[in-house]
């Protein structure tokens, strides 16, 4: 290796291990009644191996040492499956990378000197509780409206008595993988919850177990979705593009079909 190449190599190495300094513009809001607004913070010495939330931990520890109220944000499992974390980063739910949650976003996706804007999910049906924490209980109520098979514990047939084609089981699994984080709602210009509802309706409409209540389920869940104040779907597809689990837009097509065929033949409503 020539001297020049060697120095280039070292310089490159130095850049890669260099710590980042960043400017953060973060939404602060004391409670649901507070108007809220952005505040700017500087963070330094951020390693690229840190997760985005660990970078917030560093900032919060700094704030706490200064006696300032830490930034509240939802998080729990920090491995992309509980669906608790919910940051709107630079105008995109869960940040710039696709198919991951905020907790899986690592600082190597940013560069030194970046300004990063962080907001809560914005949707009428998800009121802000504090800072970046929102109330997503509307999702629970939609599931309560029919996102299940009506079976009690016990008295069920042997698991292998219901053969299910592998392709069907796999497709149901793809829909069932939804973590209920609400990124679909945050991504949608109308704050529609169609993808969330479609995922659950699809899972159960595909499986033989879900057939008995297929119609009422689609009707009841959609009715609850509307009652919660989520917006209408215009098939833009932002929800699916931003979904950390990659729930397909096909599920929405299936939900529409399920809903309309239920409505057309409904004995329920």
């Amino acid at each position: 290796m020539s001297d020049e190449l060697f120095f280039q190599f070292i310089a490159k190495k130095l850049i890669t291990i260099k710590k980042m300094n960043l400017t953060l513009k973060v939404w602060r809001q004391k409670n649901v009644n507070d108007k809220g607004g952005f505040q700017t913070y500087q963070v330094s010495d951020i390693s690229e191996d840190m997760s985005f939330l660990e970078m917030f931990d560093v900032l919060n520890e700094d704030l706490a040492r200064k006696g300032e109220d830490p930034i509240h944000f939802d998080h729990d499992c920090r491995e992309g499956i509980c669906g608790m974390c919910s940051m709107y980063i630079n105008g995109r739910p869960h940040g710039p990378k696709q198919k991951i949650t905020t907790c899986q976003l690592h600082m190597r996706s940013f560069k030194d000197g970046d300004t990063i804007t962080v907001e809560p999910w914005r949707a009428g049906a998800f009121p802000v509780i504090k800072d970046l924490v929102v109330d997503r209980s509307a999702f629970d109520r939609i599931i309560q409206a029919g996102g299940y098979v009506n079976v009690n514990t016990g008295g069920t047939p042997d698991a292998n008595e219901i053969p299910i084609p592998k392709t069907v089981a796999d497709e149901a699994m793809d829909a069932a993988t939804c973590i209920g984080c609400g990124a679909c709602v945050a991504a949608c210009k109308n704050a529609s919850a169609m993808l969330f509802v479609a995922a659950k309706v699809s899972q159960l409409a595909l499986l033989p177990q879900g057939q008995v209540e297929r119609k009422t389920r689609a009707e009841n869940m959609v009715a609850q979705m509307d009652a919660e104040g989520f917006g209408a779907c215009t098939n833009t597809g932002a929800c699916s593009a931003e979904c950390p689990k990659g729930i397909s837009l096909t599920t929405i097509a299936r939900l529409n079909r399920e809903y309309f065929s239920a409505k057309a033949s409904s004995e329920n409503v």
């Binding site: 409670n31 390693s47 191996d49 840190m50 997760s51 939330l53 660990e54 931990d57 706490a64 006696g67 300032e68 830490p70 509240h72 939802d74 998080h75 729990d76 499992c77 920090r78 491995e79 992309g80 499956i81 509980c82 669906g83 608790m84 198919k99 899986q104 690592h106 509780i129 504090k130 109330d135 997503r136 209980s137 629970d140 599931i143 309560q144 996102g147 299940y148 098979v149 079976v151 009690n152 514990t153 016990g154 069920t156 047939p157 042997d158 698991a159 292998n160 053969p163 299910i164 084609p165 592998k166 089981a169 796999d170 149901a172 699994m173 069932a176 993988t177 209920g180 159960l204 177990q209």
Partner: protein, 642 residues
């Protein structure tokens, strides 16, 4: 105090059936006269709350997360065991029972484990009926894979997201009961004390995490399904919010804590990358079906070796140490064995990566053998997760892994009915000291959580309630008043210390002490030292912690402070228990007690008992009670996976 395990008489295979017939029943019309509190909505809590609601009891359920669907059971990846023998490979209820007792290094209660194996088959039926999309073969029947500590394929799975799918199944059953009005759900609410009336558990005190409101809830029985205490180590695979507070406060009200030193260190986690680390991420054990664990034979070549350069080490210079030392089980030895071996090779200086605290988990042979597509279908989401966190692509280079705290086998002592020694207070799932002995086998936690919640507790709790009067205890009762005041006082004390260190400062310090002295390997001198250090740290905490904000708001600093205060007490008890258990067994490895080959060496004559501790006051040593373990069906042998 005499511990009564209440194990039914009779042959092991008949005990549960007979017991179910012998327990008292509550008439369907009378069930609505009883209120049951369920704290925690993971697999155990959600399945229990749903099943009790279906039976007709009035259930109040609580979780600290914003939805019951987010409890940490959701993160379980690999699978759930059941003795279905669908693979025709010689599995049976007795074999699952035998494997579990052996896997737990003969420190579990035989009768409980057998019952667990019996009901395991019902769990799969139940979940399939709910629409849980388990993996299937092309013929449409259920697929299985094998897990550590077993030589049969009995693990059912849904990609690498089995916990998620099972929890969503239980959550859907729970949601149905919420809709039916049989379960009153309290999200973002944390239990801060157990209320005792006339020697019985009759309610809890909670804090609404959004408003800070301290509330009283009365019931005829209280079920704790609050998970494990792995976060005492600060770094673990637990969720950030997982905590011991509910269980610990029940302990302080009289419930015994059993085998607290039994912690499971999971062998396949992503290594620590720096001081900023907030948690550790597990890579499912299922990866060991196809991944081969190795380090270089030569320590000089291991130093600083990155995954990218691993390919430069020829096969002849690699030490596939698990395959070499345990030819029968190979890479699928139980977790404690795999973890200890990883520590051993790293202690020899053969660990890889920048820290030297990592070993390789290599899929290149599997990819060569089966093709990338097959490997991707099995582990795709896990590979993606690994790449996301480390920046390395496991299709092209080996993963780097290292053991991390994952699960706690210890917990509240319970009898055969899953009731603690406190009348009316039950503990289910990971929260109890459970069926896993000194080491839990992979894919058994999901099984136990759902067994307790769907198929055991709904029977056994009826036996207790049937003997209870219908009368409700008013929340104006002096016991509620007193408990509420104690909770409020504690919160006020925390808020008014206004010291100079953050809650996390203390939590990290405690974690380091626990990992160093009460982690993968323990010895007398280290444990004694740790005990002193924890006491000092606890003292410092109550003098110098800085908890910001007020009680009357969403205050995560206060939430954490409450939890860390309890960890600082529990940590000392773990050390006491580890000191007392002067033997090695399962996840508890005392360096003084090992075979010539470095395997855990039990002392059955002296330690074949459950160590259950009774609280005496914070600065006082707890009192040990022993439940002798009787083995009538499994012969105690030196555990061997060779």
């Amino acid at each position: 105090m005499k511990l009564e395990s209440k194990i039914p008489e009779g042959a092991i295979g008949d005990k549960w059936t007979k017991h179910k017939f012998n327990v008292k029943l509550v008439n369907p019309a009378n069930k609505r006269k009883y209120d049951v509190i369920v704290v925690g909505t993971g697999l155990a809590g959600a399945s229990a709350a749903a099943s009790l609601g279906e039976l007709g009891y009035n259930v109040k359920a609580f979780c600290f997360q914003d939805s019951p669907r987010r409890a940490h059971s959701i993160a379980a990846q690999g699978g759930i065991n059941a003795a279905k023998n669908y693979q025709n490979d010689g599995d049976s209820v007795f074999r699952l029972f035998y494997d579990t007792v052996k896997g737990g290094d003969y420190r579990a209660r035989e009768a409980n484990v057998h019952r667990l194996a019996e009901v395991s088959v019902n769990i799969i039926d139940q979940c399939v009926a709910q629409g849980v999309p388990f993996a299937r073969e092309y013929g449409g029947l259920l697929a299985n894979r094998s897990f550590g500590g077993a030589q049969v394929s009995r693990t059912f799975y849904a990609k690498g997201q089995t916990g998620q799918q099972l929890l969503l199944g239980a959550y859907s059953a729970l949601s149905r009961q919420i809709k039916n009005g049989k379960v009153e759900m309290h999200n973002r609410t944390e239990m801060l004390d157990l209320v005792m009336v006339d020697g019985k558990a009759r309610g809890i005190i909670t804090r609404d995490l959004i408003t800070g409101k301290i509330e009283r809830h009365s019931a005829h029985a209280v079920v704790l399904a609050t998970g494990g205490y792995g976060n005492v180590f600060f770094l673990s695979t637990n969720a950030m919010g997982s905590n011991a507070t509910a269980a610990w406060r029940a302990h302080k009200k009289g419930a015994l804590m059993a085998n607290p030193c039994y912690t499971q260190i999971h062998p396949t986690c992503i290594p620590v990358s720096g001081d900023h680390q907030s948690k550790l991420t597990l890579m499912s054990e299922s990866l060991r079906n196809d991944g081969r664990v190795w380090v270089p034979k030569d320590a000089a070549k291991a130093k600083g070796l990155s995954a990218k350069d691993a390919a430069n080490i020829p096969d002849s210079e690699r030490d596939y140490y698990l395959e070499r030392r345990y030819p029968a089980f190979g890479n699928l030895v139980p977790r404690d064995v795999a973890s200890r071996n990883a520590k051993m090779v790293c202690d020899e200086g053969r660990g890889v990566g920048t820290t030297g605290l990592a070993v390789f988990l290599d899929f290149s042979d599997a990819i060569k053998r089966d093709g990338k597509k097959v490997v991707e279908a099995k582990y795709g989401n896990l590979f993606d997760m690994y790449k996301q966190i480390t920046g390395d692509n496991p299709y092209e280079m080996p993963m780097m892994i290292y053991p991390a705290v994952h699960y706690t086998m210890g917990g509240l002592w319970v009898d055969y009915n899953l009731m603690t020694n406190v009348d009316g207070c039950y503990a289910i799932g990971e929260a109890n000291f459970s069926d896993h002995g000194a080491n839990r086998l992979g894919a058994s936690a999901l099984m136990q959580g759902l067994a307790d919640g769907y198929f055991v507790l709904p029977y056994t709790i009826g036996d207790y309630l049937a003997k209870m009067p219908y009368e409700r205890v008013s929340t104006d009762h002096a016991a509620f008043e007193e408990a509420e005041k104690a909770v409020k006082d504690k919160i006020n004390t925390l808020l008014n210390i206004k010291g100079s260190q953050t809650v996390d400062d203390f939590h990290k310090k405690l974690g380091k002490i626990m990992w160093e002295y009460c982690g993968m390997a323990r010895n007398e001198a280290g444990l004694k030292k740790a005990k002193g250090m924890i006491r000092e740290l606890r003292e410092e905490f109550w003098e110098d912690v800085n908890v910001l904000g007020s009680n009357e708001e969403l205050n995560m600093s206060l939430e954490k402070a409450n939890r860390v205060a309890d960890f600082l007490e529990l940590g000392e008890l773990m050390v006491d228990d580890a000191l007392n258990r002067d033997e090695s067994c399962g996840g508890h490895f005392r360096e003084e007690h090992q075979t010539e080959e470095g395997e855990a060496k039990r002392n059955d004559e002296k330690f074949a008992y459950v160590g259950a501790w009774e609280f005496q006051g914070v600065e006082k040593d707890e009192v040990l009670h022993k439940e002798e373990l009787v083995f009538e069906n499994v012969k105690l042998t030196q555990r061997s996976y060779k």
